[in-house]
Amino acid sequence: MNKWLKSILTLIVLMFGMFVGGTTSFAADKPHYTIATDTTYPPFEFQDKDGEYRGIDMDMLKAISKEEGFTYTLKPMSFNAGVQAIQAGQVDGLLAGMSITPEREKSFDFSVPYYKTGVVIAVNGKDKDNKSLDDLKGKKVAVKTGTAGAQYAQSIAKEYDLKLSFFNDSNTMYNDVKVGNTVAAFEDQPVMAYAINQGTDMNIITKPVNTGGYGFGVKKGANAELLKSFDKGYDKLVKSGEYDKIVQNYLGDNSYNYKKNAANEAAAKPTIWNILKENKSALLDGLFKTIQLTLIGIILASIWGMLLAVMGVMPSKIMRGISTSIIYLFRGLPMLVLAFFIYIGLPNLTGSKIPAFTAGVITLVLNEGAYIASFVKGGFLSVDKGQLEAARSLGMPYGKAMRKVVMPQGIRLTIPSFINQFIITLKDTSILSAIGIIELTQTGTLIIARNLQGFRVWLIIGAMYLIVITLLTWLSNWMEKRIK
């Protein structure tokens, strides 16, 4: 019995060891940083049709890194997630058209301001009624979570009786105003002006307020070296005139047209076929990531779940208690909360980064594992107790009797539940888009941020999920038959 117990404990320790030990380190001589940016914030950052990130921020970062001799990995995520990732130490810096505010300076160290900005309010281009802030009294307005615009809106919400709707990216926010759910959007002046210039049918109705500058931010007290490099590099770019060139490239006459370049073919003929053709590699990458997450997740979750289930039917009260508590805890937590907790909460506590993919896998293992544990445990318990008695009566010790007689029968009863869990896991991976894993759902978000073809893109993404789930179901049914 003790051997049985020991081997299980060893396995648990090994499993955790695997995750914790899974962080990679760069052994290059150049410093390497992870830098977060917004998914779409033209003209500062956006994805071009080849899937590459372009814009003033991006071109500037590239030039500075060359100048200062560092390398970086770019992590596009919603602005709000980026702010949290900085605080969690998951990324080293955030370059996302971020206004320097006194509030933010409490938790960020900022570079010199590299671009002038202020918050403006914009309404639908066809809206003739709302011409000033006073006209918005008592109405619903749109803001982007965690931005200076949102902060400003909140500060005047009481005075003007504004009802705020929160969004994670600018495009969705503009769309909300255009379809009329909200009457106005609070946005940074350069971004709003650029969007209107690029053909977004909206009107700015206020003068910029809370004016200040955009800054590159790092966590307060951390990454001083990176910040210094940024400031030095920026200074050189300004002196050499390259900075102006970059800005002119996006804002000057005959400038780089974001919309045209982002989605020229799809914009001309936004058919499903064109969208598919244009985003083939992005969609396949996303699909691959989703399948990868699902497979790794379900395999590890099955191992973990079965371990918990075995513990849950052990004679030892302590083991049963541990199993029940773990199942209770992780079945009770919403998966999104768990994902944020692991990705953003834990590094805050331990001080060491967890890569998003690893955090996603751990989330899946803990969440799906708890469900697997409870139905496998149920399977074990539903095996007639005469089976254990018969095996023990023949002289087989408890562990052997469980392994050779009870568990094989219990597992067999749970095969349909396993297939079901497999499908649920595949769908649940979409939740992990929230921590910046670019799987199928996040891929869809990014494509829409570019081509604004929400209906068609979500149709494609939905169909892709259905196809994969159908294939998985066939495969599972085939395996189920073979086992029987």
Partner: protein, 245 residues
């Protein structure tokens, strides 16, 4: 003849309900003891305490020289010497008949796989089911299942066989085959303790009949004595009901 089972003053309660109120029993090697009595009298519970499927609260149980009531006794080793046959057979449905029989001896290192299979086939021959070696138990009739279960218990070479109402779950026409196997076993000199309602079997095969009532052994003796001249009213009542039903 040495006592192979020696039970002294065994008590057991489920909560406030005392089901065994002080049982004493000695069984000699080669003896066939049949335990009868009304349902709820404690006879099945008592049988299950003998190989420690049930705990006891107090008293002493020594079987094949092992003190089952002592928690330090290696209960697995003890059980290897005790064959147990259940009312509901408890064959392992995920294994074939042959695998059902060879699993424990091979796992416990008692025999090699080949030895275990040879012995199993021999035993299946004895219970008339050699041709069923490779089928799953679900395809067998109740009587066939119980004969496999008996063969499975014998595979471990037990010194004593315990039968817990082995024919109660069978259709009437299946009972005969199973009883025949048990009679043959008795003839071969196996020590057996049988809980049953088959009075015919008791009369024919038992060396001793033990009558249980209300958690106590009410009366025991040679079958002809107990059946023909019961000493207690309780025994008489019970026998009247089952024999003249």
């Amino acid at each position: 003849m040495a006592a192979i089972v020696d039970v002294k003053d065994v008590h057991k309660s489920y909560g406030s309900n005392e089901v065994l109120k002080g049982i004493d029993l000695e069984v000699q090697e080669g003896e066939v003891v049949v335990m009868i009595g009304p349902s709820g009298s404690g006879k099945s519970t008592f049988l299950r305490t003998l190989n420690h499927l049930e705990d006891t609260d107090s008293g002493k149980i020594v079987i094949n020289g092992w003190d089952v009531s002592d928690s330090k006794t290696n209960i697995d080793k003890t059980r290897e010497t005790i064959g147990m046959v259940f009312q509901h057979f408890n064959l392992f449905p995920h294994l074939t008949v042959l695998e059902n029989m060879t699993l424990a001896p091979v796992e416990l290192g008692k025999y090699s796989k080949d030895e275990a299979e040879a012995k199993a086939l021999e035993l299946l021959d004895r219970v008339g089911l050699r041709d069923k070696a490779d089928v799953k138990p679900t395809t067998l009739s109740g009587g066939q299942k119980q004969r496999v279960a008996i063969a499975r218990a014998l595979e471990m070479n037990p010194k004593i066989m315990l039968f817990d109402e082995p024919t109660s779950a069978l259709d009437p026409e299946m009972v005969g085959d199973v009883l025949q196997v048990m009679k043959d076993l008795a003839k071969d000199g196996m020590t057996m303790i049988v809980v049953t309602h088959e009075m015919g079997f008791a009369k024919q095969v038992a060396d001793r009949v033990v009558f249980f009532a209300d958690g106590l052994i009410n009366e025991q003796g040679k079958p002809e004595d107990v059946f023909n001249h019961p000493q207690h009213e309780r025994t008489k009542d019970f026998l009247d009901k089952v024999l003249n039903a």
